[in-house]
Protein backbone atom coordinates (compact mmCIF):
# COMPACT_ATOMS: atom_id res chain seq x y z
CA UNK A 1 0.00 0.00 0.00
CA UNK A 2 3.03 2.24 0.02
CA UNK A 3 2.83 3.12 -3.63
CA UNK A 4 -0.94 3.54 -3.64
CA UNK A 5 -3.46 1.60 -5.66
CA UNK A 6 -2.60 2.89 -9.10
CA UNK A 7 -1.41 0.63 -11.90
CA UNK A 8 2.30 -0.18 -11.79
CA UNK A 9 4.50 0.55 -14.78
CA UNK A 10 5.81 -2.76 -16.11
CA UNK A 11 8.29 -1.57 -18.72
CA UNK A 12 9.05 1.30 -21.09
CA UNK A 13 8.40 1.07 -24.80
CA UNK A 14 10.39 3.70 -26.69
CA UNK A 15 10.04 6.11 -23.80
CA UNK A 16 6.32 5.45 -23.20
CA UNK A 17 5.64 3.75 -19.86
CA UNK A 18 3.55 0.60 -20.31
CA UNK A 19 1.37 -0.04 -17.26
CA UNK A 20 -0.31 -3.14 -15.85
CA UNK A 21 -3.53 -1.94 -17.46
CA UNK A 22 -2.11 -2.16 -20.99
CA UNK A 23 -0.37 -5.50 -20.40
CA UNK A 24 -3.51 -7.05 -18.89
CA UNK A 25 -5.57 -5.78 -21.82
CA UNK A 26 -3.11 -7.49 -24.19
CA UNK A 27 -3.58 -10.71 -22.21
CA UNK A 28 -7.37 -10.45 -22.56
CA UNK A 29 -7.02 -9.79 -26.30
CA UNK A 30 -4.89 -12.89 -26.71
CA UNK A 31 -7.34 -15.00 -24.68
CA UNK A 32 -10.34 -13.79 -26.69
CA UNK A 33 -8.61 -14.31 -30.05
CA UNK A 34 -7.53 -17.84 -29.08
CA UNK A 35 -11.05 -18.72 -27.86
CA UNK A 36 -12.55 -17.37 -31.08
CA UNK A 37 -10.14 -19.35 -33.23
CA UNK A 38 -10.82 -22.55 -31.30
CA UNK A 39 -14.60 -22.15 -31.37
CA UNK A 40 -14.81 -21.31 -35.07
CA UNK A 41 -12.50 -24.04 -36.33
CA UNK A 42 -14.19 -26.28 -38.88
CA UNK A 43 -17.72 -24.83 -38.84
CA UNK A 44 -20.32 -27.28 -40.16
CA UNK A 45 -23.89 -26.66 -41.24
CA UNK A 46 -25.18 -29.06 -38.59
CA UNK A 47 -23.51 -27.94 -35.37
CA UNK A 48 -21.72 -30.41 -33.13
CA UNK A 49 -19.89 -30.04 -29.86
CA UNK A 50 -18.19 -26.73 -29.36
CA UNK A 51 -20.00 -25.15 -32.29
CA UNK A 52 -23.18 -25.50 -30.23
CA UNK A 53 -21.58 -23.38 -27.52
CA UNK A 54 -20.53 -20.74 -30.03
CA UNK A 55 -23.96 -20.64 -31.67
CA UNK A 56 -25.75 -20.43 -28.30
CA UNK A 57 -23.53 -17.51 -27.29
CA UNK A 58 -24.03 -15.59 -30.53
CA UNK A 59 -27.75 -16.25 -30.53
CA UNK A 60 -28.21 -15.00 -26.98
CA UNK A 61 -26.27 -11.80 -27.74
CA UNK A 62 -28.32 -11.25 -30.90
CA UNK A 63 -31.53 -11.75 -28.93
CA UNK A 64 -30.45 -9.32 -26.23
CA UNK A 65 -29.57 -6.68 -28.81
CA UNK A 66 -32.80 -7.01 -30.81
CA UNK A 67 -34.90 -7.05 -27.64
CA UNK A 68 -33.26 -3.94 -26.22
CA UNK A 69 -32.65 -1.91 -29.35
CA UNK A 70 -35.26 -3.12 -31.81
CA UNK A 71 -35.22 -5.48 -34.79
CA UNK A 72 -33.74 -2.96 -37.23
CA UNK A 73 -30.61 -2.48 -35.13
CA UNK A 74 -29.42 -6.07 -35.15
CA UNK A 75 -26.11 -5.02 -36.68
CA UNK A 76 -25.04 -3.52 -33.37
CA UNK A 77 -24.87 -6.95 -31.79
CA UNK A 78 -21.37 -7.62 -33.12
CA UNK A 79 -19.96 -4.54 -31.36
CA UNK A 80 -22.03 -5.08 -28.22
CA UNK A 81 -21.08 -8.76 -28.05
CA UNK A 82 -17.37 -8.02 -28.39
CA UNK A 83 -17.57 -5.27 -25.78
CA UNK A 84 -19.53 -7.56 -23.48
CA UNK A 85 -16.90 -10.32 -23.67
CA UNK A 86 -14.04 -7.87 -23.25
CA UNK A 87 -15.57 -6.14 -20.21
CA UNK A 88 -16.60 -9.47 -18.69
CA UNK A 89 -13.07 -10.87 -18.85
CA UNK A 90 -11.62 -7.53 -17.76
CA UNK A 91 -13.81 -7.25 -14.67
CA UNK A 92 -13.25 -10.87 -13.66
CA UNK A 93 -9.47 -10.50 -13.72
CA UNK A 94 -9.54 -9.87 -9.99
CA UNK A 95 -10.43 -13.54 -9.53
CA UNK A 96 -7.05 -14.64 -10.84
CA UNK A 97 -5.06 -12.07 -8.91
CA UNK A 98 -4.29 -9.71 -11.78
CA UNK A 99 -5.29 -6.08 -11.76
CA UNK A 100 -8.47 -5.57 -13.84
CA UNK A 101 -7.82 -3.19 -16.76
CA UNK A 102 -11.18 -1.55 -16.03
CA UNK A 103 -9.74 -0.40 -12.71
CA UNK A 104 -8.11 2.37 -14.76
CA UNK A 105 -10.23 5.41 -15.60
CA UNK A 106 -8.49 5.59 -19.00
CA UNK A 107 -9.93 2.24 -20.09
CA UNK A 108 -13.46 2.92 -18.90
CA UNK A 109 -13.46 6.44 -20.27
CA UNK A 110 -12.31 5.13 -23.67
CA UNK A 111 -15.26 2.76 -23.84
CA UNK A 112 -17.69 5.37 -22.55
CA UNK A 113 -16.29 7.82 -25.10
CA UNK A 114 -16.92 5.23 -27.83
CA UNK A 115 -20.54 4.96 -26.69
CA UNK A 116 -20.83 8.76 -26.70
CA UNK A 117 -19.50 8.98 -30.26
CA UNK A 118 -21.83 6.18 -31.37
CA UNK A 119 -24.85 7.88 -29.81
CA UNK A 120 -24.33 11.13 -31.67
CA UNK A 121 -22.97 9.70 -34.91
CA UNK A 122 -25.77 7.18 -35.41
CA UNK A 123 -28.39 9.60 -34.12
CA UNK A 124 -27.29 12.25 -36.60
CA UNK A 125 -27.01 9.72 -39.39
CA UNK A 126 -30.45 8.24 -38.79
CA UNK A 127 -32.30 11.50 -38.36
CA UNK A 128 -30.27 13.85 -40.52
CA UNK A 129 -27.99 16.48 -39.03
CA UNK A 130 -30.53 19.33 -39.06
CA UNK A 131 -33.32 17.43 -37.37
CA UNK A 132 -30.92 15.89 -34.89
CA UNK A 133 -29.46 19.23 -33.81
CA UNK A 134 -32.93 20.70 -33.58
CA UNK A 135 -33.77 17.92 -31.13
CA UNK A 136 -31.55 19.64 -28.59
CA UNK A 137 -33.89 22.61 -28.59
CA UNK A 138 -36.77 20.43 -27.40
CA UNK A 139 -38.94 21.07 -25.41
CA UNK A 140 -37.87 24.71 -24.96
CA UNK A 141 -34.93 26.41 -26.73
CA UNK A 142 -33.98 27.88 -23.36
CA UNK A 143 -33.14 24.40 -22.12
CA UNK A 144 -30.27 24.02 -24.62
CA UNK A 145 -27.45 24.32 -22.02
CA UNK A 146 -29.20 21.80 -19.78
CA UNK A 147 -29.65 19.39 -22.68
CA UNK A 148 -25.97 19.68 -23.59
CA UNK A 149 -24.91 19.08 -19.98
CA UNK A 150 -27.23 16.10 -19.84
CA UNK A 151 -25.59 14.64 -22.94
CA UNK A 152 -22.12 15.19 -21.47
CA UNK A 153 -23.21 13.49 -18.24
CA UNK A 154 -23.68 10.21 -20.12
CA UNK A 155 -20.03 9.26 -20.76
CA UNK A 156 -18.98 10.66 -17.37
CA UNK A 157 -21.49 8.54 -15.48
CA UNK A 158 -20.85 5.43 -17.62
CA UNK A 159 -17.09 5.59 -17.12
CA UNK A 160 -17.08 6.52 -13.44
CA UNK A 161 -19.69 3.91 -12.53
CA UNK A 162 -17.63 1.06 -13.96
CA UNK A 163 -14.32 2.50 -12.72
CA UNK A 164 -15.61 3.14 -9.20
CA UNK A 165 -17.15 -0.30 -8.79
CA UNK A 166 -14.06 -2.18 -9.93
CA UNK A 167 -11.51 -0.01 -8.10
CA UNK A 168 -13.58 -0.11 -4.92
CA UNK A 169 -13.58 -3.89 -5.20
CA UNK A 170 -9.82 -4.21 -5.62
CA UNK A 171 -9.11 -1.83 -2.74
CA UNK A 172 -11.43 -3.69 -0.35
CA UNK A 173 -10.00 -7.07 -1.36
CA UNK A 174 -6.39 -5.94 -1.00
CA UNK A 175 -7.11 -4.32 2.36
CA UNK A 176 -8.72 -7.59 3.40
CA UNK A 177 -5.68 -9.62 2.36
CA UNK A 178 -3.41 -7.17 4.18
CA UNK A 179 -5.55 -7.41 7.30
CA UNK A 180 -5.60 -11.22 7.20
CA UNK A 181 -1.83 -11.32 6.69
CA UNK A 182 -1.25 -9.15 9.74
CA UNK A 183 -3.68 -11.34 11.69
CA UNK A 184 -1.60 -14.38 10.77
CA UNK A 185 1.56 -12.52 11.76
CA UNK A 186 0.07 -11.48 15.10
CA UNK A 187 -0.65 -15.11 15.89
CA UNK A 188 2.92 -16.01 15.03
CA UNK A 189 1.98 -17.78 11.78
CA UNK A 190 3.58 -15.23 9.47
CA UNK A 191 4.70 -17.85 6.97
CA UNK A 192 1.46 -19.81 6.95
CA UNK A 193 -1.21 -17.57 5.34
CA UNK A 194 -3.90 -19.82 6.72
CA UNK A 195 -6.53 -17.11 7.07
CA UNK A 196 -6.09 -16.03 3.49
CA UNK A 197 -7.25 -19.39 2.19
CA UNK A 198 -11.00 -19.45 2.75
CA UNK A 199 -12.31 -16.14 4.11
CA UNK A 200 -11.60 -13.96 1.05
CA UNK A 201 -13.68 -16.27 -1.18
CA UNK A 202 -16.93 -14.60 -0.14
CA UNK A 203 -15.53 -11.13 -0.81
CA UNK A 204 -14.20 -12.25 -4.20
CA UNK A 205 -17.60 -13.70 -5.03
CA UNK A 206 -19.33 -10.42 -4.26
CA UNK A 207 -16.85 -7.84 -5.51
CA UNK A 208 -15.35 -9.67 -8.47
CA UNK A 209 -18.00 -12.12 -9.66
CA UNK A 210 -21.31 -10.44 -8.80
CA UNK A 211 -20.32 -6.80 -9.16
CA UNK A 212 -18.13 -7.49 -12.19
CA UNK A 213 -20.82 -9.30 -14.16
CA UNK A 214 -23.55 -6.88 -13.13
CA UNK A 215 -21.52 -3.81 -14.06
CA UNK A 216 -20.64 -5.32 -17.44
CA UNK A 217 -24.30 -5.94 -18.06
CA UNK A 218 -25.25 -2.44 -16.95
CA UNK A 219 -22.62 -0.84 -19.22
CA UNK A 220 -23.82 -2.82 -22.24
CA UNK A 221 -27.54 -2.27 -21.56
CA UNK A 222 -27.11 1.47 -20.96
CA UNK A 223 -25.02 1.83 -24.14
CA UNK A 224 -27.63 -0.03 -26.15
CA UNK A 225 -30.54 1.93 -24.70
CA UNK A 226 -28.88 5.33 -25.24
CA UNK A 227 -27.87 4.54 -28.82
CA UNK A 228 -31.31 3.26 -29.74
CA UNK A 229 -33.03 6.22 -28.06
CA UNK A 230 -30.84 8.63 -30.06
CA UNK A 231 -31.78 6.86 -33.27
CA UNK A 232 -35.55 6.86 -32.70
Amino acid sequence: MEEGFGPKVIFDLWGIPVTETVVNTWIIMIILVVISLILTRGLKKVPKGKQNVAEALVESINNLTTQTMGEDKKAFSSYMGSLFLLLLFANLFGLIGLRPPTADINTTFAFAGLTFVMIHFFGARRKGIGKYLKGFLEPFPLLLPLNIMGELATPISLSFRLFGNIVGGIIVVSLLYGGLASLSAALGLANFPIFQAGIPVIFHMYFDLFAGVLQTFIFIMLSMVFISLAMD
Partner: protein, 177 residues
Protein backbone atom coordinates in the same frame (compact mmCIF):
# COMPACT_ATOMS: atom_id res chain seq x y z
CA UNK B 1 -10.40 33.56 16.84
CA UNK B 2 -8.33 31.56 19.26
CA UNK B 3 -9.41 28.39 17.51
CA UNK B 4 -8.15 29.68 14.17
CA UNK B 5 -4.80 30.64 15.65
CA UNK B 6 -4.47 27.21 17.20
CA UNK B 7 -5.39 25.68 13.86
CA UNK B 8 -2.79 27.70 12.00
CA UNK B 9 -0.09 26.64 14.42
CA UNK B 10 0.00 23.25 12.72
CA UNK B 11 2.17 22.33 9.78
CA UNK B 12 0.51 23.15 6.42
CA UNK B 13 0.52 19.54 5.25
CA UNK B 14 -1.03 18.36 8.51
CA UNK B 15 -3.94 20.78 8.08
CA UNK B 16 -4.52 19.67 4.50
CA UNK B 17 -4.37 15.98 5.40
CA UNK B 18 -6.78 16.42 8.31
CA UNK B 19 -9.18 18.28 6.06
CA UNK B 20 -8.87 15.47 3.50
CA UNK B 21 -9.82 12.96 6.16
CA UNK B 22 -12.90 15.02 7.09
CA UNK B 23 -13.78 15.45 3.41
CA UNK B 24 -13.50 11.73 2.73
CA UNK B 25 -15.80 11.00 5.62
CA UNK B 26 -18.36 13.59 4.54
CA UNK B 27 -18.36 12.21 1.01
CA UNK B 28 -19.56 8.80 2.19
CA UNK B 29 -22.71 10.32 3.71
CA UNK B 30 -23.94 9.99 0.13
CA UNK B 31 -24.48 6.31 0.92
CA UNK B 32 -27.82 7.25 2.49
CA UNK B 33 -29.44 7.74 -0.90
CA UNK B 34 -28.72 4.43 -2.64
CA UNK B 35 -29.54 2.66 0.61
CA UNK B 36 -33.07 4.04 0.62
CA UNK B 37 -33.52 3.73 -3.14
CA UNK B 38 -32.31 0.17 -3.46
CA UNK B 39 -34.38 -0.82 -0.44
CA UNK B 40 -37.47 0.53 -2.14
CA UNK B 41 -36.57 -1.38 -5.30
CA UNK B 42 -36.05 -4.56 -3.31
CA UNK B 43 -39.41 -4.15 -1.59
CA UNK B 44 -41.16 -3.61 -4.88
CA UNK B 45 -39.34 -6.63 -6.27
CA UNK B 46 -40.62 -8.83 -3.48
CA UNK B 47 -44.13 -7.45 -4.00
CA UNK B 48 -43.98 -8.02 -7.77
CA UNK B 49 -42.83 -11.60 -7.35
CA UNK B 50 -45.56 -12.30 -4.82
CA UNK B 51 -48.29 -11.01 -7.13
CA UNK B 52 -46.99 -12.77 -10.22
CA UNK B 53 -44.56 -15.60 -9.51
CA UNK B 54 -44.43 -16.50 -13.21
CA UNK B 55 -42.82 -13.17 -14.06
CA UNK B 56 -40.29 -13.43 -11.25
CA UNK B 57 -37.24 -13.92 -13.45
CA UNK B 58 -37.86 -10.74 -15.42
CA UNK B 59 -38.85 -8.80 -12.33
CA UNK B 60 -35.67 -9.83 -10.50
CA UNK B 61 -33.51 -8.92 -13.50
CA UNK B 62 -35.09 -5.46 -13.75
CA UNK B 63 -34.72 -4.97 -10.00
CA UNK B 64 -31.00 -5.77 -10.19
CA UNK B 65 -30.47 -3.49 -13.19
CA UNK B 66 -32.31 -0.59 -11.60
CA UNK B 67 -30.58 -1.07 -8.25
CA UNK B 68 -27.16 -1.17 -9.90
CA UNK B 69 -27.84 2.18 -11.56
CA UNK B 70 -29.12 3.60 -8.25
CA UNK B 71 -25.78 2.58 -6.74
CA UNK B 72 -23.94 5.06 -8.94
CA UNK B 73 -24.08 7.98 -6.52
CA UNK B 74 -22.51 5.86 -3.78
CA UNK B 75 -19.78 4.76 -6.16
CA UNK B 76 -19.00 8.33 -7.23
CA UNK B 77 -18.74 9.32 -3.56
CA UNK B 78 -16.48 6.33 -2.93
CA UNK B 79 -14.21 7.39 -5.80
CA UNK B 80 -13.83 10.89 -4.35
CA UNK B 81 -13.16 9.48 -0.87
CA UNK B 82 -10.60 7.00 -2.21
CA UNK B 83 -8.83 9.74 -4.16
CA UNK B 84 -8.61 11.81 -0.96
CA UNK B 85 -7.18 8.90 0.97
CA UNK B 86 -4.87 7.14 -1.45
CA UNK B 87 -3.99 9.58 -4.23
CA UNK B 88 -4.33 12.92 -2.47
CA UNK B 89 -3.75 15.67 -5.05
CA UNK B 90 -3.98 18.54 -2.57
CA UNK B 91 -1.23 17.78 -0.10
CA UNK B 92 1.56 18.97 -2.39
CA UNK B 93 -0.28 21.96 -3.82
CA UNK B 94 1.45 25.29 -3.40
CA UNK B 95 -0.69 27.99 -1.92
CA UNK B 96 -2.43 28.96 1.24
CA UNK B 97 -2.90 25.96 3.52
CA UNK B 98 -6.30 26.93 4.79
CA UNK B 99 -7.71 27.50 1.29
CA UNK B 100 -6.54 24.06 0.19
CA UNK B 101 -7.86 22.47 3.37
CA UNK B 102 -11.24 24.12 2.91
CA UNK B 103 -11.29 22.88 -0.71
CA UNK B 104 -10.77 19.34 0.54
CA UNK B 105 -13.71 19.64 2.94
CA UNK B 106 -15.78 21.28 0.21
CA UNK B 107 -15.09 18.48 -2.24
CA UNK B 108 -16.28 15.96 0.33
CA UNK B 109 -19.39 17.96 1.23
CA UNK B 110 -20.24 18.30 -2.46
CA UNK B 111 -20.67 14.54 -2.87
CA UNK B 112 -23.49 14.51 -0.30
CA UNK B 113 -25.63 15.60 -3.25
CA UNK B 114 -25.59 11.95 -4.26
CA UNK B 115 -28.37 11.25 -1.77
CA UNK B 116 -30.97 12.69 -4.13
CA UNK B 117 -30.25 10.69 -7.29
CA UNK B 118 -29.81 7.59 -5.11
CA UNK B 119 -33.34 7.85 -3.76
CA UNK B 120 -34.85 8.97 -7.06
CA UNK B 121 -33.24 6.30 -9.21
CA UNK B 122 -34.18 3.70 -6.61
CA UNK B 123 -37.80 4.86 -6.84
CA UNK B 124 -37.65 4.50 -10.62
CA UNK B 125 -36.16 1.03 -10.23
CA UNK B 126 -38.91 0.03 -7.82
CA UNK B 127 -41.67 1.23 -10.10
CA UNK B 128 -40.04 -0.43 -13.09
CA UNK B 129 -39.81 -3.72 -11.22
CA UNK B 130 -43.43 -3.50 -10.12
CA UNK B 131 -44.65 -2.92 -13.67
CA UNK B 132 -42.46 -5.60 -15.19
CA UNK B 133 -43.90 -7.96 -12.60
CA UNK B 134 -47.41 -7.03 -13.73
CA UNK B 135 -46.68 -7.13 -17.48
CA UNK B 136 -43.51 -9.14 -18.17
CA UNK B 137 -44.08 -9.00 -21.92
CA UNK B 138 -43.37 -5.28 -21.98
CA UNK B 139 -40.06 -5.62 -20.22
CA UNK B 140 -37.85 -3.99 -22.87
CA UNK B 141 -39.99 -0.87 -23.25
CA UNK B 142 -40.28 -0.45 -19.49
CA UNK B 143 -36.54 -0.94 -18.98
CA UNK B 144 -35.68 1.60 -21.69
CA UNK B 145 -37.86 4.28 -20.14
CA UNK B 146 -36.53 3.45 -16.68
CA UNK B 147 -32.91 3.81 -17.85
CA UNK B 148 -33.64 7.07 -19.62
CA UNK B 149 -35.32 8.51 -16.54
CA UNK B 150 -32.53 7.33 -14.27
CA UNK B 151 -29.91 8.89 -16.53
CA UNK B 152 -31.64 12.27 -16.35
CA UNK B 153 -31.94 11.90 -12.56
CA UNK B 154 -28.20 11.31 -12.34
CA UNK B 155 -27.23 14.71 -13.74
CA UNK B 156 -27.14 16.64 -10.46
CA UNK B 157 -24.96 13.92 -9.00
CA UNK B 158 -22.61 14.39 -11.96
CA UNK B 159 -22.56 18.16 -11.37
CA UNK B 160 -21.52 17.46 -7.75
CA UNK B 161 -18.79 15.10 -8.94
CA UNK B 162 -17.47 17.70 -11.38
CA UNK B 163 -17.29 20.35 -8.66
CA UNK B 164 -15.51 17.92 -6.34
CA UNK B 165 -13.01 16.97 -9.05
CA UNK B 166 -12.42 20.63 -9.95
CA UNK B 167 -11.76 21.48 -6.31
CA UNK B 168 -9.32 18.60 -6.03
CA UNK B 169 -7.50 18.61 -9.34
CA UNK B 170 -7.91 22.04 -10.93
CA UNK B 171 -8.36 24.22 -7.88
CA UNK B 172 -9.13 27.75 -9.08
CA UNK B 173 -9.21 29.30 -5.63
CA UNK B 174 -5.55 29.02 -4.61
CA UNK B 175 -4.60 31.26 -7.51
CA UNK B 176 -6.96 34.01 -6.45
CA UNK B 177 -5.26 34.57 -3.11
Amino acid sequence: MQFLEWLMSFDKKAIILSASAIGAGFAMIAGIGPGIGQGYAAGKGAEAVSYNPKGSKQATMVMLLGAAVAETSGILALVVALIMLFANPLVNLTGSGIVIAASAIGAGLSMIAGIGPGIGQGYAAGKGTEMVGKRPKHQSAIVRTMFLGQAVAQTTGIYALIIALVLMFANPLVRLL
